[in-house]
Every structure is written in structure tokens, then in C-alpha cells.
Point group: C2
Chain length 173, copies 2
DNA sequence: CACGGATGATTCACGTGTCAATCAACTGGT
DNA sequence: ACCAGTTGATTGACACGTGAATCATCCGTG
């Protein structure tokens, strides 16, 4: 065996697990997003923006707060809002308090689209993802995600400034 | 109450599991890809193409076979190869047997880049993904992926034509 | 109040993905 | 040999993501 001390490499089983995991959950995600798009003509990005906006007081948020809330880069949000604005889902207007900023607001059209999308979207998550598992497996999934977060130290760096007194049910996709 | 029979909706715990799963493994993937890019200036798409090519007989494949092998849309592969060609990783030349087709070949540069990338990439998968779990959890992950594939009927529609007698270790990312 | 540095937001260049359209070259049936 | 229909591959239009650059406004300090 010319094996000169193998380094920190995965076994082929571990590699297969990784690949299967990625491939499988990519398909799950694609199915859920495709259903959202069929049902409501919304992308998951649209959904996330509309969710945050509809939860906001007066259906309006400062653009940078929105970006922070959904954890997007500002330029990403900027571009996405541009597209959504063209479709009439949101509107942007200059901000009174701070002349640099802008204020994003939900249009009636956007609110309607979001309202119509939520139940089918949640159903899709249930049918495509949740229903694939036993309760035990769901608990295992929770635990594996938690294990990853511990492994990568993703839990400590949570405390955002002193903002966000009580985050009201932040949905994701 | 006004509750008119809730439909097939996930509980908030189930929804939280879904969101945590997506977010967490997005980060895992991003870290692995970011490391691949730092180490080797390759994207996961590049890696997948180079892997398939380096496994191919004579480091050359018909473009459409490549697309089928890695399960990409043909236009996606076309665009990706264009970019890779600009960077000198692959080359395309007209195909003798079929004047419509083209033949993709690995350049020395591409082979070198791929060779240099594999060990660090596999290490990253081990360190970032595999090492987060106990062996038991890894087995659970295999089983959850399998459960999804059964749930979505992803295993039956496998048989591709009569081609591909024995697929030789198709790596993914 | 003036100035320099932080901050809000957009823009640009580019990589990446999808789908429809295009176009040439192959194929089979007559 | 010819035409129709399929197939190999590219292209174009668009959605989406990242990072750097830009630009105006704000703010703390002298």
C-alpha cells in the first residue's frame, strides 16, 4: 500500500451521504419553489420579502431594516425590489426621516398575491417535505441541523446590536 | 372558533424544522463552495465538469453525453463550458462522427487545477459536513434522504434508456 | 460650521440558472 | 435523392446572487 497516511478525508460512504443529501434536498426545494411559482407566480425571494413586509407595522419598512431582517445583502434586496416593483408588488418612496434612505411599501396587489400564496405554499412544504418523514425523523433532522450549527459556531454570533426587541415569528421561505 | 377545518398545513414546529434545515445546509454548502473557490478558484460547477471529464476515457466527452452524465440542461452546460474555455480549463472542438456535435476536452491546465482541488475539497466536505455528526446521525441522514426519495418517487424513474452499463463512481460536488 | 468618516441605497460587472428559439446536421421513409 | 421530423448545440432574454464602486446624506468632533 503506497498510502502515505491519508489525511482528513471522508470515506466513500460519507461522501455518498453528502451527495445524496445535497441532491435530494435540492429537489425538494425545487419542487416547493416550483409549486409556489405555479400557484402564485412568486419566487421564494418574493415570498420572503412579502412576508416580512406584511408583518411590518403599516406594511412598510425601511429598506435597510428589511435587508437586515431577512438577512440579505443590500444590493441583493435592491435588485429584487426593483423587479418586484416592476411587477407592482411593492413600491418605494423616499424616506422622510433620512433623505438617503427609502421606504418600501406593500401594494394592494402585493398584499393580495401574498395572501393568496401562503396556504398553498405551506401545504406544499407539508406535503413535499414534512410528510416524507416519521415524527422521529423530523426530530432527527432538527438535531442534525442543531449539530451543524454547533459545529460551525453559528449560534453565538446571533445578538444583533440592541435592536429587535421581540422578533415576531420570522418565517423563511 | 372560526376555524373552518385546517387543511394539510404544517405545525409551527414542522415549519421551523424546514426552515432550520434549509438555512443550515445552505450555509454548509456555501462554506464548502467558498473553500473550494479560495483553494482552487473553481466553482462547484467547474468541479463537477472537471470531475466528469477527468474520469472520461481520454479526458474527452461528447458535449451531450457530458450533460446527460452530470444531469445538466444542455444550455447550462453550453454556457458553463464557454466560461471554462475562456479560463483555459477545457477546450471544444468539432466532432468527427457527427458534424453537429462537439467534443469537450480537458486541457493540461484544467487537469492540473482539478488535481490540485480534489483533496482540499474532500477535506472541506469532511470537516464542514461529516465532522458535524456522530456516525449514528450520518446514518440518520442517509435514511432521511432515502425517505424523501421514496416519498417523491425518485427511485423508480432512474432507468435511463439502455445506456450506461455501469456508472463509475459519479461524484457530485 | 466645516470636515472626515460612517451609513443608506443603487449601480456595475460578472457568474450562474431556466426556458424558448434558432440553426445546422442527421435520420428514416418514400 | 428528398422532405419531414429529430437531435446536438448555441444563443438570447431574463431572474437571481455576489462584491466592488459610487454617491449622497448623515453625524461627531474640533
Amino acid at each position: 500500500m503506497g498510502a502515505a497516511g491519508r489525511r482528513n478525508l471522508p470515506t466513500s460512504e460519507e461522501l455518498a451521504t453528502w451527495r445524496a443529501h445535497v441532491e435530494t434536498f435540492d429537489i425538494v426545494r425545487a419542487r416547493i419553489e416550483s409549486r409556489l411559482h405555479q400557484d402564485s407566480k412568486l419566487s421564494s425571494g418574493d415570498y420572503r420579502v412579502l412576508l416580512a413586509l406584511s408583518e411590518a407595522d403599516g406594511s412598510t419598512v425601511r429598506s435597510s431594516e428589511l435587508a437586515a431582517h431577512i438577512e440579505w445583502e443590500r444590493s441583493r434586496l435592491s435588485g429584487h425590489l426593483g423587479r418586484m416593483e416592476k411587477r407592482g408588488l411593492v413600491r418605494r418612496e423616499p424616506c422622510a426621516e433620512d433623505a438617503r434612505g427609502s421606504r418600501v411599501l406593500l401594494t394592494a396587489e402585493g398584499a393580495r398575491a401574498f395572501r393568496a400564496s401562503t396556504v398553498p405554499h405551506l401545504q406544499a412544504i407539508k406535503e413535499i417535505f414534512v410528510d416524507a418523514f416519521t415524527p422521529r425523523q423530523l426530530a432527527d433532522l432538527d438535531e442534525t441541523a442543531a449539530a451543524v450549527r454547533r459545529h460551525l459556531d453559528l449560534d453565538s454570533p446571533r445578538p444583533r446590536s440592541s435592536d429587535v426587541p421581540n422578533s415576531p415569528t420570522g418565517e423563511t421561505s
